[in-house]
Symmetry: C2
Amino acid sequence: MSDVLKIFKIGGGIIDDASQLGLFLTELARVAGPKILVHGGGKGASQMLQDLGIEPNMVQGRRITDAATLDIVTMFYAGKTNKQIVALLQQRGVNALGLSGADGNVIRATKRPVKDIDYGFVGDLNAESVNSELVVQLLRANVTPVFCAITHDGQGQLLNTNADTIASVLACALTSAYRVELHFCFEKDGVLSDISDDQSVIKNIVPKQYQQLKAAGVIAAGMVPKLDNAFAALAAGVDKVVIENALKINEPVKTVLCRS
Amino acid sequence: MSDVLKIFKIGGGIIDDASQLGLFLTELARVAGPKILVHGGGKGASQMLQDLGIEPNMVQGRRITDAATLDIVTMFYAGKTNKQIVALLQQRGVNALGLSGADGNVIRATKRPVKDIDYGFVGDLNAESVNSELVVQLLRANVTPVFCAITHDGQGQLLNTNADTIASVLACALTSAYRVELHFCFEKDGVLSDISDDQSVIKNIVPKQYQQLKAAGVIAAGMVPKLDNAFAALAAGVDKVVIENALKINEPVKTVLCRS
């Protein structure tokens, strides 16, 4: 129970920049011990939809994952992006293995119920979504699982799923076998107390302080869902959540969220 | 050493027909014991290249896998086709897990050397290409690996690779842990002694007889590379090679190739 598992999540910004992605993966290869990478999408899928003349299906300003869109995002996320990352990690000596949620039934989702909007083939996750047994077996075999943001419903349907949420539910589920650290990596050095000052990284945030910062409008709007998610993971047993620069994961500058 | 491992290979014809693919996967789910599926491509990738206005790069009548083509085939084979098959097998109660050769470094290839033609990003395999340890671990965990025809060179480069060859080298490598049966599935019931008569399935062929049939021109030209491959696998220790109809894998009609 005492091994530390580090789960890293990277988003579209870094995936779209081959040179930054390479630098991040080099840093990731330097991280010792069991680790998992979860990656989001990037702009490639949208560009390809446009190139193929597939109009974005928008309802009330939200993009709908219709069948054509699901095909393209599956190809991009599970195909191109996932396999390129795996090959680049292999090059760096990391025994990476790419997974969608369908593979080994590791993440089973539920198609989002239709209320006001039918989001299409989008998967929602809950605490029971992760089949952690196989993930633990892979980690114990020194494999580094690399998750894309595609899951399935167990009935043959693939589902487009939020990568931050995948990272969080994996982190929570794997607390059964590890002390888990969840690392959200992006282009800033951490949570900033002054959005216009990249040096204003808040070193530690506890839940009470987070509520105060949020109320005072100090936390950038885009960070709120990510941090809500992060504190929920902490409450569910994840040891530590870190918000950090994807290119500086081995440097001390970062924001560490703590349970108390 | 006495468990029988069955490796099935399906080609593009069945992948392009969703209803036939579903029927095949239902039959595959009925096959007991450890099993592996290897799948080829299908016409989707070529169609998408055409839709994107990417001209086929042909040299001396052979298609070259340039960088743009590799991107698209990786998306199709490792992304769409592989994940759809995995999700459909999960639906059928089979704990499938999709793999390219890069995943877990299970199949490492060498970029085809340039002689008369530079085939581009095409991978050649040899007897040392397969890292069978992880594949055996997955099989022992009741996982059914599903291989697409994409491999890597260990230096970060993905490579387009012949699916028949992947099936053969996997079969040969896994003889270290299993008695291996290699099943090449296609649209006919087996090797025909009369190409115009679908009922003329040859039940058994031993190497000597194969040479005679080949010399007499009885074996259809398209079958020759497949059968050469198959007999090579037999010679390398594979227990049995079967040529059969993808929709009739659980029926007795088929051609069984035997070592003697």
